[in-house]
């Protein structure tokens, strides 16, 4: 076999393996997409051709499921979490990156260590505190919980991006008459923008998909979309068609975000990694 044939074969095998991997990953999503357009009775039939229906989508917004309210909760909680987390994390990350702080390493490791604590371990203290503070079943409570989840991650991620900005560039702005705050606003933020956007999207996804805390700390007013999925039960069992329609509603914003920020996302990821 010639070298060229060997390379072609190797490429072929590579493409085949990638296609298999993609297929395995996509199967559940394809199943959900199909189920969302099926009637309840068709759901368990593995037919590729069926009579599609759109009635599942309006149904999930109607009583008793009222997905609209949960969609609003999820959106507000995830958005406010990101809007608070990114500025605070950026300031913390800038300090860690640019100043020599006492106990810097200890602080950074402690922040990282909070990520290793299993959520179930700290859920009870959260429940007791929130009960005493009157934050149970509130969006504010969920935002606080989500902040505690995403902040360590955001600080570490943004620090990586800021570390990648050459110090010379900041100093050049300083000798050209910029104060530290002006340097942050005029130089660091524009240069770290792809990184901040990436960190923001990650935080949004984490907050959007958060399940455990929302399950324990909410029961009516502040229920979010992932918890809302558990409502699709009836006497005849799980309502997979409605559940799938709701699943798509949860996933669509993620797909749209991924499409919009794809370019920045890659730039942001490599910026943090390659220094």
């Amino acid at each position: 076999m010639t070298g060229r044939r060997k390379r072609q074969l190797a490429n072929g095998v590579q493409v085949l393996l990638i296609l298999i991997a993609i297929f395995v990953m996509l199967v559940p999503i394809i199943w959900i997409f199909m189920a969302a357009f099926k009637n309840h009775i068709d759901v368990f039939q593995l037919k590729l051709f069926f009579k599609p229906t759109l009635k599942n989508f309006p149904a999930v917004f109607e009583s008793p499921y009222s997905l609209g309210h949960k969609l609003m909760n999820s959106t507000l909680v995830a958005l406010v979490t990101v809007l608070l987390a990114i500025p605070i994390a950026t300031m913390a990350a800038y300090s860690f990156s640019r100043f020599r702080l006492t106990g810097e390493t200890t602080m950074l490791v402690t922040i990282l260590a909070t990520q290793f604590v299993p959520a179930v371990v700290i859920i009870l203290p959260f429940f007791v505190m929130f009960r005493d503070l009157g934050l149970l079943d509130t969006r504010v409570g969920l935002i606080l919980v989500n902040l505690s989840i995403v902040m360590p991650f955001a600080i570490w991620m943004i620090k990586g991006f800021i570390d990648g900005i050459p110090l010379d560039t900041e100093e050049a702005a300083m000798v050209d008459g910029s104060s530290r705050l002006q340097v942050i606003r005029n130089i660091v933020l524009p240069m770290a923008a792809p990184g901040l956007l990436t960190a923001g999207i990650f935080c949004f996804i984490i907050a959007w998909n958060e399940f455990l805390f929302a399950l324990i700390l909410t029961n009516k007013n502040a229920v979010t979309l992932p918890i809302g999925l558990a409502l699709f039960k009836a006497e005849e069992g799980d309502l997979w068609n409605l559940l799938s329609a709701a699943g798509i509603i949860i996933m669509v914003p993620m797909f749209v975000l991924a499409l919009i920020i794809r370019r920045y996302f890659v730039q942001g990821m490599t910026m943090g990694a390659v220094r």
């Binding site: 050459p166 010379d168 560039t169 100093e171 050049a172 702005a173 300083m174 000798v175 050209d176 008459g177 910029s178 104060s179 002006q182 130089i187 524009p190 240069m191």
Partner: protein, 350 residues
């Protein structure tokens, strides 16, 4: 020095346990082109950064225009700087980069635009105002960095190895640009470099630094011809160093007894520049000479540096022109006589 623009008085800088700069005293006059030169880690960049306000001296005072600058932040000084990395803002176009300093000083938009244009014109970059930084060549970026620093019309410009990232042919061209700019504007240039050719070709005075201290200050020719210490003689390069015991008018070295240009006693170091020595197959009739075995030659454009090995294993350098080398036609291991006139030798401090 009357009314200097910059004064360093007893300035030291410590990083942890390391003293980067030790008790530095230096005055720079208005309109002077001063080059700080030395090997890596000699403290030249730290000295420049202290002048820019990017580092605070551990001890001593730095004054600019008679005002003590200790504790004054970089953005409150008027000391723009050109970096080795150029440090242009990649998210701004060429014109916005040049306008940046003016914007920070609150200059109105119309004036900003016209002054930026004026400087881009002056540096031959008028057609590139709307270009992104990444679309420029190294030399073009260099000009933008210069325009950005000079647009505020400062009294002094600091340059930290600004040409070291450029190709050799661009370095020579940019040296011309820098020299003529400095003369035309009449502003002070403080230029950090490890390149002897850059420092010697442009500066009015060269400050040689070693191990955080000033080893010698003087005009380029003086530094080259009369190095004050062995360190300077070796750093400047192309110097032959003869070490031994001075006894009156002669130096007793492992290579033999060599006449000294001055009377001295005790351990002494004598330097003879490579372009002041000649190599011959026969021993010259008069003047000092030592024997050396030919090792190799190094072609550097206009001249050739020949390396010989002395009888004590030391390296002796002789700078010759191409014609002389053809006549000499040395082959490896051949023995030559390297000679000079007594007044070409210079006694340096150890």
């Amino acid at each position: 020095m009357d009314n200097p623009l910059v004064s360093f008085t007893g300035v030291s800088k410590r990083f942890g346990q390391v003293w980067a700069v030790k008790s530095l005293d230096l005055s720079i006059t208005r309109g002077e082109f001063v080059a700080l030169m030395g090997p890596s880690g000699c403290g030249k960049t730290t000295t420049l950064r202290m002048l820019a306000g990017l580092e605070e001296p551990t001890e001593g005072t730095i004054s600019i225009g008679g005002r003590v600058m200790n504790g004054v932040a970089a953005h409150e000084r008027d000391t723009p700087m050109v970096w080795q990395s150029l440090a242009l803002f990649p998210f701004l176009n060429v014109r916005e980069n040049v306008e940046f300093g003016l914007k920070m000083r609150g200059v109105a938009k119309e004036e900003r635009t016209s002054r930026a244009k004026e400087w881009l014109d002056r540096l031959g970059m008028s057609d590139f105002g709307d270009r992104g930084i990444e679309q420029l060549s190294g030399g073009q970026k260099q000009r933008v960095a210069l325009a950005r620093s000079l647009v505020t019309e400062p009294e002094m410009l600091l340059l930290d190895e600004p040409l070291s990232a450029l190709d050799a042919h661009l370095v020579i061209r940019m040296q011309g640009v820098l020299s003529s700019l400095q003369r035309e504007l009449g502003i002070t240039f403080v230029y950090v470099t490890h390149s002897q050719s850059e420092a010697f070709s442009m500066a009015d005075r060269v400050v040689i630094m070693g191990d955080g201290e000033i080893a010698q200050i003087g005009p380029p020719r003086e530094i080259y011809r009369r190095p004050a210490t062995r360190f300077v003689a070796e750093f400047v390069g192309r110097n032959n160093i003869f070490e031994g015991e001075a006894r009156g008018n002669s130096l007793h070295s492992p290579l033999g007894t060599l006449p000294l240009p001055v009377t001295a006693f005790g351990p002494a170091v004598m330097a003879v520049a490579a372009d002041r020595v000649s190599a011959n197959r026969d021993r010259p009739g008069e003047g000092p000479s030592v024997k050396g075995r030919f090792l190799s030659e190094e072609f550097s454009g206009t001249s050739i540096l020949c390396y010989f090995e002395g009888s004590d294993g030391s390296t002796i350098k002789a700078q010759v022109d191409e014609e002389a080398l053809d006549l000499l036609a040395p082959s490896h291991g051949e023995v030559f006589w390297i000679s000079w006139s007594t007044d070409a030798a210079h006694l340096v401090g150890s």
